[in-house]
């Protein structure tokens, strides 16, 4: 019962702060969007905990709220962004956007509606626990090669960023 309430609270707050990231009626400042993105990610970590993915919840908070958002804020403060607030939103563009996105959501909801309901059937209770030990086991045994390739990807990203942020792009 508490899980149910927590699910609804967390998903409502996730969606609310998600909406405030993209369409904040009060402020159009990118810093506000970044702050609501932090909130979205924190509430999503709550949803991860409800799904018993404890390790991923911790990683989500550490990597997204800790690293990615700090990077965003650094860049926002590095670039002096005053212009965004003055430009107006086009009503017609927003209307068409809502229409298109609502139809995409309709498609997704219809697809989700075709899967058999899992909540009422108590036969297959989910038992999976996303603890660190089984994840680490899978990561270092079954998925060792992708894991190593990922480290190369991070290295490539680092080299690329250093190259891009040099003074003259040559």
């Amino acid at each position: 019962m508490t899980q149910e309430i927590l699910f609804y609270v967390f998903s409502f707050l996730t969606l609310l702060s998600g909406i405030l990231v993209v369409a904040n009626p009060v402020s159009r400042n990118p810093v506000t969007s970044a702050m609501f993105l932090v909130l979205t990610i924190l509430f999503m970590a709550g949803l991860f905990v409800l799904l018993h993915a404890f390790f991923l919840a911790a990683v989500q908070i550490l990597v997204y709220a800790g690293a990615v958002i700090v990077l965003f804020l650094f860049v926002i403060m590095l670039l002096d962004l005053k212009e965004e607030e003055t430009r107006r939103v086009r009503k017609i563009g927003a209307g068409i956007g809502i229409l298109a996105v609502a139809s995409v959501f309709g498609l997704m909801a219809r697809t989700i509606g075709t899967i058999p309901p899992t909540a009422s059937s108590g036969a297959s209770r989910p038992t999976l626990e996303g603890l660190t030990a089984p994840l680490g086991n899978a990561l270092f045994k079954q998925y060792l090669l992708p894991f190593e390739i990922l480290s190369i990807l991070l290295l490539v990203a680092m080299v690329g960023v250093i190259l891009l942020s040099k003074k003259d792009l040559r």
Partner: protein, 102 residues
């Protein structure tokens, strides 16, 4: 007892994805578009974790782990691109960035 099933999580994930999509389509600042992209990635993560939980298979969570890492790399490269672009054009507004040549 626990009335929350897979479909509830998938609906939340789809809604979050659509919010991100709406941001990408309508906002005009490159940085906010980028944040909306992060929202969409997070929505996909939520769907993967929910699938993994309700199918009793850990592979979905491994996938999310990889996605988070790739997203971190992607954010660093993308923000470096935005900074480089801003140096050349003094703007992060997509309507000012319509040509690819610097």
């Amino acid at each position: 007892m626990n009335g929350v099933g897979l479909e509830h999580y998938l609906i939340v994930s789809a809604a979050l994805f659509c919010i991100g999509l709406f941001g990408v389509v309508t906002r005009r600042s490159v940085l906010v578009i980028y944040m909306s992209l992060e929202l969409m990635l997070n929505a996909a993560n939520l769907a993967l974790v929910a699938m993994s939980r309700f199918n009793g298979n850990l592979d979905g969570q491994i996938m999310v782990f990889f996605t988070i890492t790739v997203a971190a790399a992607e954010v660093s490269v993308g923000l470096a691109l935005i900074v480089a672009l801003y140096r050349k054009r003094q703007s992060t507004h997509v309507e000012d960035l319509t040509t690819m040549k610097l």
